[in-house]
Amino acid sequence: MSEVVSLTAAELGAAIGTGEVSSEEATAAYLDRIGAVDGQIGAFLHVGRESALAQARAVDARRAAGEELGPLAGVPVAHKDVFATKDMPTTAASKILQDWRPPYDATVTARLREAGLVILGKTNMDEFAMGSSTENSAYHVTRNPWDTDRIPGGSSGGSSAAVAAFEAPLATGTDTGGSIRQPAAVCGLVGGKPTYGGSSRFGLIAFASSLDTPGPLARNVLDAALLHEAFSGHDPHDSTSVDAPVPPVADAARVGDVDGLRVGVVKELDGDGFQAGVRQRFRETVELLESLGAKVVELSCPSFDAALSAYYLIAPSECSSNLARFDAMRYGLRVGDDGTRSAEEVMSLTRAQGFGAEVKRRIVLGTYALSSGYYDAYYGSAQQVRTLIKRDFDAAFENVDVLVSPTTPTTAFPIGERLDDPMAMYLADLCTIPSNLAGNASLSVPCGLAPEDGLPVGFQIMAPALADDRTYRVAAAVERALSERDGDLLARNPYAV
């Protein structure tokens, strides 16, 4: 069944639509693929073989009954373990939620099911989505299919590794500071962060609620766009959901025309600290867009220099508040309840044993930044920087249609390299964070392999809020031009099928 696994999601959906292949056959092929390679990659925390096959048979039955189904009906998907799924464990890769089964589905989960997508299982991640390497999972490491000694990115690293290793054609992710775009970049994939509020947070285990955004990962731009459309859109269950139509991202991915488009290169998101091969591929891609008719200008967003600092105050502050819900009382782990200890003691013991080092670090940092006496100097100043970043974006988008930068300063780094140095780890999010703070649409598309290490480089495209379609349009142009120049880049990954 390697032919099925090598198809794009759009091709597989079409083949299932015409009855050329059944969803059950496709699902079985992917389950076999997971069985063959996931021992080496470690992308999944849970594989739901029986539930996936049952979902696939249900889609085949709906099709046989003549029901009109969407373009991804019957196509398998890997689902990040941060989304509530009532038929599978949901752990956010934390010991505090080991074996927990939520009593309801997240909106994203429910919409995947409605669109007929078949959920293969739940993917590994940094615990509570805090990290850039998936090394903060409480369960196991995940390896980058391009080089299994390197990280797959994070926090959606199980999702990126699954798609890059052809264990799934599509995956969901969430992006709080770059957790979709960075893993996509280092695994040679397309990863989109929709406009904040464009995809629902209901049933998503919260990390930083003003930043968290679900989005798609795929091996090509059209597949990412189709998945984006399948689960996005207004949700009355999420009070920050935007009540507006989903931007026409799939149409934009099919068009891919940049003639006359105004492209701004952000001066602050490139520089000496960046890997030479990353800068080279980025510059070449900007020139490529120019050759396709785009009008390129360099511009400055001075406040972006403080974005990383603002993020590492805002995100831990929100995390310290959100994770207060893990109190050992209503669900999840409870430690030390021997009849002699008080609720407060049980709570403190449970949280100390249930949370990993990075989660504890962020909870304590957030508690500090929000505490009386420091609030104005830290959390308050960070919120002011957030205003400045938003103003920089607004000013830039008066003159250009999209902004571009490298997605990450370096290619995938070796497993273990940054584990003991939190600030070095945080730098992986340097270019992705501004769009989380401002809430605008952003996407990463592969732009070649770095000459010095042969690893994928990501090209980031940022567009105004609710103009997500522009990011897909530019990404499709890059994808097409590069495939003419370089051929099928993904095929150079040792796990390509």
């Binding site: 309801y104 403080a306 002011q384 809430g439």
Partner: protein, 102 residues
């Protein structure tokens, strides 16, 4: 404004108590150093955020959202209690919360 970015082990212990985290001695030591490093690195926000710039808690303008005040289906008691560490008489059973020593 002089900003304190060094953080003592006792301060970390106080924060951990506030956050209900029973951290061990080694964790307190490590965190005191790491938090100092992180806070030093993020003081940039104070250089940039000067003057009367309004703070943004969210990126996009938000208005409160209400739904009609009507009864609608919700979780059953069994579903709501399905993940509870301990249950008694259709309720969450919790360790004692009164008479704690101060």
């Amino acid at each position: 404004m002089v900003l304190m970015t060094a953080i003592t082990r006792d301060e970390v212990a106080h924060l951990a108590r506030l956050a209900r985290l029973a951290l061990d001695e080694g964790e307190l030591d490590t965190l005191a150093v790491q938090l100092g490093d992180i806070l030093t690195a993020v003081t940039k926000v104070q250089e940039v955020a000067q003057g009367d710039i309004p703070p943004s808690s969210h990126a996009l303008p938000l208005t409160n959202v209400y739904r009609p005040d009507e009864a609608r289906p919700c979780l059953t008691p069994e579903q709501a209690l399905s993940g509870a560490p301990a249950v008694e008489d259709q309720r969450f059973r919790v360790p004692r919360i009164l008479g704690e020593e101060e």
